[in-house]
Symmetry: C2
Subunit: 379 residues, 2 copies
């Protein structure tokens, strides 16, 4: 029997966080592509846009006016998907198979910076640190409100992702239930810690138990670079195209030196290192196809901030802080991957292997392409 | 406490087929939409396109030539995601968390009709019956090949779904493993049959056990039409926007009069009724926004055709034949829903309730909009 060649043989990879598979068809990389061409990303944006509802001191469609903010700015979403209390009583299901539950909470928008034309990839490290501080603040504030069981921090960037406003911003949805995907991941982390022995060298989770993500990150950090899925690694954070990635250039960003359940537990040094990692990953993304790279990004962590006086061995600390980046682009600034057909009806599928994607991202510069001309002039 | 109002209060609905939730935010239906406008669907297509690799007697990029077919035509995909045997030996995982398995099988393309400009919505019932016959044939042929454990029939339609060729066609992927989503659904059906008593009036699954989809379809067929999720109902088939629908106008099409595990078990009458249901659902889809409605559609059924002499009480017959339609359009022919941000990172979310979507589809005509002018002339 022939040897297995992961750059040729179709195979399925198992995602231990979700318990799902992805079908990998690396031999198909060269098939001709005929499909939709995406409109080009806008470039040459103004630093201030009088029509933008996120720019400083501008009015929003709800009638409110933004502060003349100088760094970050947070406001409650004028069209929140989840509403504050009181929540109505749970309805009687018309049939046991038609179950539902009311949900309550709140949705915030966090503007990353006053400049309309910048993104994470072009912000200075101290500006990114201010965003992280804001995330920590919202996580603590929303996560201690009555009836809240989960806080989801995320960013949706680019017209290709249905986000029409290029002004750098993210969102935070706080809700009375743990949503599907984080619930699945937390369950996988818990089961892993209960049924696996920790390896000798990897960091440990609560009560010295094995942590799925500590083990995974520790292993990935040790793989020789030419077989590796590493995109960047700094003192505290590791960015990898995970073994089980669905999107062509999907990235998971996580701390790999110690077990960290949430943003709240980051030391100042780890926060600065986090800002550095965010900057470097997003710069490489933009440089990959020389465009403002569209993605959805989300923070997964302990559902709520730790209660005062809670032990580090608290079960909730089985969570391991990590970020997912899900970008749609596949071949260039105009050709995206579609999650359709077989993927919607059967199983996620990719052609490019995660190792090939990571290599491509490792080859990208960390000097942003829009700053290269300027850097040239300065020399 | 206020009463729960499913057309206003945010709530989560449980999908018993996947075990996942969807967040419903019906109060948000009126938020202003600012995002990507999709290019218009092509119209006035020629009946024959000399450049189309699916038109009769034309050449494909692999160099092969299509038959001068008169009805349907099947060929092996020139860029198959899954390759035929021999399959290499399973690789040794570099770490237990980096699991994978080789996969083998085959991918077929099935052209629905010689006319380049027609779709399911505009084909005559006998032409749709020929497609169903072809599906049954491929299911039996591929499903009895060595090493095959699952056959996925699906259609991906529309540039919005990444499918650039409007020539009506679908695909069939046969593979050596049951993919993620059908595996999850089959598991849910099995668990339901093991732990629920069948209702008195609904059809029963193997061994007289309760079938999740028999129970669900039977219940939906009984709901008064003004509270209903029904799109169409004929003698054997029911089309509903399921209680747990993710896509705005998602439809599940399934037989509701008796438990039918796969296409193979359909009587001739049930096949004709199936063709009628497919025609009526797709006509309503096109008439909703007066465009060729994009969607991904997939057939879920018993993973493989029944073996000769197998009992109807065979465990594999716990499967209940059904089709999912996942269309992206939301408000008109140019405005689509994006599965991004919170949805990729946390949980599926919709604003329009399934009941509202079903009402919209019930109000659509079953005379195709492109045929209405003609029908007027004939009067
Ligand atoms: Zn950990
Ligand atoms: Zn059934």
């Amino acid at each position: 029997m022939a040897d297995f060649d992961p750059t040729f043989n179709p195979h399925r990879r198992y995602n231990p966080l979700t318990g799902e598979y992805i079908l990998v068809s690396p031999h198909r990389m060269k098939r001709p592509w005929k499909g939709q061409i995406e409109p080009p990303q806008p470039s040459n944006l103004p630093a201030y846009d009088p029509e933008c509802y996120l720019c400083p001191a501008n009015s929003r469609s709800g009638g409110q006016k933004n502060d003349a903010y100088e760094h970050t700015f947070v406001f409650e979403n004028d069209f929140a998907a989840i509403l504050p209390p009181p929540m109505p009583a749970a309805p009687q299901p018309p049939h046991p198979l038609l179950a539902s539950e009311p949900v309550q909470g709140g949705c915030d928008v966090i503007i990353f910076h006053p400049r309309h034309d910048l993104t994470l990839a072009r912000l200075a490290i101290p500006d990114i640190e201010r965003i992280i501080d804001e995330w920590v603040g919202i996580y603590k504030r929303r996560g201690t409100q009555e009836g809240i069981e989960y806080v989801q921090i995320f960013e949706n960037k680019g017209a290709m992702m249905g986000c029409s406003n290029p002004h750098p911003h993210g969102q935070v949805w706080a809700m009375s239930a743990v949503p599907t995907l984080p619930a699945k991941e937390l369950d996988s982390l818990r089961k892993y810690s209960e049924s696996n022995k920790p390896s000798e060298t990897a960091p440990k989770g609560p009560k010295g138990c094995a942590c799925l993500l500590c083990e995974y990150a520790h292993f990935e950090a040790s793989v020789p670079i030419d077989e590796s899925r590493i995109v960047i690694k700094n003192d505290h954070w590791l960015a990898v195209v995970p073994w089980w990635a669905t999107w062509p250039f999907e990235v998971m960003l996580l701390p790999y030196k110690r077990h960290i359940p949430s943003l709240q537990e980051l030391t100042q040094e780890e926060r600065t290192s986090f800002a550095d990692a965010l900057s470097r990953v997003t710069k490489r993304y933009d440089n990959l196809f020389l465009c403002s790279f569209a993605y959805s990004m989300g923070v997964h962590q302990r559902p709520l901030p730790a209660k005062e006086g809670a032990s580090v061995d608290d079960d909730a600390n089985t969570a391991h802080l990590h970020l997912h980046f899900a970008p749609p682009l596949l071949r260039n600034a105009s050709i995206r991957k579609f999650l359709v057909g077989f993927e919607l009806m059967a199983e996620a599928q990719r052609d490019l292997t995660p190792e090939q994607a990571a290599t491509r991202l490792r080859l990208c510069s960390e000097l942003h392409y829009l700053d290269q001309a300027e850097a040239g002039k300065e020399q």
